[in-house]
Amino acid sequence: MSNEHSMRRVTAIRNGTVIDHIPCGQSLTVLEMLGVTGSTSVPVSLVMNVPSKKMGSKDIIKVEDRELTQSELDRLALVAPDAHVAIIRAYSVAEKLTINLGEEVVNVVKCAMSNCITTNLREPLPHRLKVVSKDPLELRCHYCGRPQNLDELVNNVL
């Protein structure tokens, strides 16, 4: 099935953000990392496990009346570094945003280790995690060196 057909599973949105090419099964994690919960008032459409030429299968999210910020893109980069993000205005793609998981993630997530110096939230230096591996994702705290996997990162989003 083509990408065009999969997009038709949900209606086009007037204003908001479309996140396409999310790794299969990761859309719920993406929503969690973006802070989109059942209590948020904006309409959210989510399709999972739709066929994709590029990825085999993928997830897609459409969030209405909300445009992702840079810090939200940084969080998204941890879960879906190859996702395509489009800002929609008046039913048209107004902007295509680039996700970039660089060598270090700064002030996006905090270290998961309870005894790390950064757990004192009054300490002013930024939370820094180095990207050791992109696939599978592994980050290490710049300060204490503790490796952290995706599950821990999701629970420690700033």
Partner: protein, 316 residues
């Protein structure tokens, strides 16, 4: 200026050069020669956790080289109890001193301090993280006994999970091609991320709970204390305490030049009967803390240790 936070901050070549410097500084460390290489320099000793050997040997090292030391003193009487952040404390001491030696209960504190400071930080232990200056004196002691660092079989025993000395030492020994044996109770095994790092550097590692069967062909047996202060669960500590107790009786069939080391303090993991054997090296090891730290202070302050220390120095 860069400090020493983990052993990754030094190349093998730098390690060997520092050990050579330390070797030449031995008469100064023993007080046989006066060589004020660090005159006019001030070391800030920031020990947020109890320390005897590390703090005193840093102080001795600085003073033997003609430098001076200011101490944080008891944490309970400092601004730390008023809630001062580590960042603020470092800002202040950075202005007072030329170099800082620090021990802190939280992991990553040394790197955090280095990122907050302009002067070099010497990591004297950060939680269960790293203790690279201890590693330098350990390497000095091993080389002193065996004349080399490469290709030795080293057994590390006791608390390998929380023991920061063994974390730093195993990284360094792997870089010199040593064969490592990790002997510990199951719940105090070397952390998997460290094993994974060591394997990535081509380490040869054996993990076991049986210490005594592994010491027969060892060149070094490095004992550590089961650290009560690192356990949140007293029952868990009770299950591990006293797991190993090396006695002179265990040493009948070991290599004649095998050395037994311990970062000290010991509790009961090395019986006093071992003290009088030719293998005991832990008290010399503690002394070597002075000379290794003298060489490190010079290195990080950009001071060259003269090739001919005897000629450069004077009588006391």
């Amino acid at each position: 200026m860069a400090g020493l936070i983990t052993m990754d901050d030094l190349t093998n070549e730098e390690i060997l050069t520092i050990l050579d410097d330390a070797e030449r500084l031995l008469p100064v460390a023993r007080g046989e020669l006066y060589l004020p290489l660090l005159q006019g320099r001030i070391l800030g000793n920031l020990f947020f956790e109890p320390s005897t050997r590390t703090r005193m040997s840093f102080e001795t090292a600085m003073k033997r080289l003609g430098g001076d030391v200011v101490n944080l003193g008891d944490v309970k009487t400092s601004s730390v109890v008023k809630g001062e952040t580590l960042f603020d404390t470092i800002q202040m001491v950075d202005g007072y001193t030329d170099i800082i030696a620090m021990r802190h209960p939280r992991q990553g504190a040394a790197q955090y301090a280095q990122d907050s400071a302009t002067v070099p930080i010497l990591n004297g232990g950060d939680g269960a993280g790293h203790h690279p200056t201890q590693t330098m004196l350990d390497l000095f002691t091993i080389r002193q006994a065996h004349g080399k660092l490469d290709g030795l079989k080293v057994v590390l025993a006791g608390d390998l999970r929380y023991g920061r000395t063994v974390h730093s030492l195993s990284h360094a020994l792997t870089r010199f091609g040593c064969e490592l044996v990790f002997a510990s109770p199951e719940i105090l095994k070397m952390p998997s991320e460290i094993i994974s790092d060591l394997n990535a550097h081509g380490a040869t590692i054996t993990e076991t709970e049986d210490l005594y069967s592994m010491i027969g062909d060892a060149d070094v047996v490095y004992m550590t204390r089961i650290q009560k202060e690192r356990f949140s669960d007293e029952d868990e500590y009770a299950r591990c305490a006293g797991a190993y107790k090396l006695h002179a009786n265990h040493l009948a069939d070991v290599k004649s030049n095998m050395i037994i080391m311990h970062p000290l303090p010991r509790v009961d993991e090395i019986d006093p009967s071992v003290d009088v054997t030719r293998h005991a090296r832990y008290f010399e090891q503690a002394f070597n803390g002075v000379v290794a730290r003298m060489a490190l202070l010079c290195k990080l302050l950009g001071i060259t240790v003269p090739e001919d220390v005897e000629s450069a120095g004077g009588a006391l």
